[in-house]
Amino acid sequence: MKCWGFCRMNEITQGLYEAARLIFSLDSDLLEIVGLSLRVTLTAVVIASAIGLPLGAWLVINRFRFRRATIAVMNALMGLPPVVVGLLVYMLLSRSGPFGVLDLLFTPTAMIIAQVIIILPLIASISHQTIRDLWAEYHDLLISLGASRRQRIMALLWDGRRALLTAMLAGFGRGIGEVGAIMIVGGNIDHSTRVLTTAISLETGKGNFAFAMGLGFVLIGLAVAVNLLIHTLSRTERASVW
């Protein structure tokens, strides 16, 4: 069989076919992996949002000496290399590390911790930017009404909730596609800590490109589904600011 320079394209088609096959056969391994992927990333997004959104708002409403530097560092931490985060968490959770007694290494909890660290700066930075614009609008009113710091943060987060969704979705995207850190702290152990991205990485190493692509398509489909669901639920596109 001669290869006409398009045999790679076939692998993409094959990947789509693999994806379809995996989905329609409801492969139980796949379901397990997908379930863990979602569980880890959604938990990480929730935790990171619970910290990152108020942090972003806090940085907006407070003026202090090193505010500018803090924001620049927070922005910079969006570039935290996952592998380094993985290493750090590995060292902390390793048996000989300070939190070794908790025995968390190679568990989904460790993966969640690593993802929270990776996602947090992203969510905090984007929400900071969003809230800054809203604060410019609300500043005078909230000060005038005598809202406390906490009340200001609450008002900004609540009224900016639609826009803050983008921050959370960006965090979800970063988390669900991440592989470097969870590979190190999760170990990609079959039936225990294997998620979609680590499985894709594994199949790539094996040279099973079509299967890897198939898993990739499943992952993308999953991300699209989650995004559509959230957009629909929150009716973001219904009104422009509302």
């Binding site: 609008e137 005078d140 005038s144 008002a155 009224d159 009104a239």
Partner: protein
């Protein structure tokens, strides 16, 4: 009838400005200003566009940083904060429904949400916003926004109320209604400080006048005296609607 004042005990007044200066990036935009706001009544701030009326009100209310001199209340600032209200020249609408927007100051002050909403609905109706209760505040008409701002400012029963051209977008009837509401608030013990370009309104409401020019208090005194015998030629010209520079 609407009950306005929440805590009519001791007052945060008098308010004293001593050599107060407002700057933006080092450039003085108003001041130095010496002024005292005491007792009862209504102070009307007059002056041409850009003369510093808004800046003066913001200085008093603590929205504009005092870069020199001081602005002090009879009570500590933290207490004074919650007992003043401000109606902005261009209404600031939160991205909430009308009823929730009016209830917000009450909720900030710790009133249960349900009770606050009930009271807000009552007030909205009084201010002619009964039909708009569930409309998002940002889509209101210009006049409706002004009314919302007024209701939101008065509902917490402030000791002092600052108003920056609150009737600029209101029709004749609404203006008269608002004037009635302001008079009632004043009778209830609320001190009013208001800027306006409507000389008729100024004459109707003022018990005291502050005439601003070039960021400074150019002339001040009881309304009677100011309208009947202004001391400076600029004030004379301004009252006649002439060029003032």
């Amino acid at each position: 009838m609407l009950q306005t004042r929440l805590a009519p005990a001791d007052s945060i007044l008098p308010l004293t400005l001593t050599g107060a200066v407002a700057k933006v990036y080092g450039k003085t935009i108003a001041g130095p200003i010496d002024l005292q706001v005491t007792g009862h009544g209504t102070t009307i701030v007059l002056g041409p566009n850009g003369s510093g009326k808004t800046t003066l009100l913001r200085l008093m209310h603590g929205l504009q940083r005092v870069r020199k001199g001081s602005v002090t209340w009879a009570l500590p600032d933290t207490q004074a904060r919650l007992r003043q209200s401000y109606v902005f020249q261009s209404p600031i609408m939160m991205r909430r429904r009308v009823a929730d927007s009016i209830a917000y100051p009450l909720i900030l002050r710790g009133m249960p949400r349900k009770q606050a909403r009930a009271k807000a609905i009552e007030w909205a109706q009084e201010f002619g916003l009964g039909a708009a209760l569930d409309r998002p505040a940002p889509v209101l008409s210009g006049g409706e926004k002004q009314k919302l701002s007024l209701a939101r400012a008065l509902i917490s029963g402030p000791d002092i109320l600052f108003l920056d051209e609150p009737c600029a977008n209101l029709d004749g009837r609404a203006t008269r209604e608002i004037e009635t509401l302001l008079a009632r608030a004043q009778a209830g013990g609320t001190r009013i400080v208001m800027s306006t370009h409507d000389m008729g309104q100024a004459r109707r409401l003022a018990s005291e006048v502050v005439f601003m020019l070039g960021g400074k208090v150019h002339e001040t005194g009881p309304a009677q005296d100011f309208f009947n015998g202004p001391k400076t030629p600029q004030a004379v010209a301004f009252i006649n609607g002439d060029i003032v520079e």
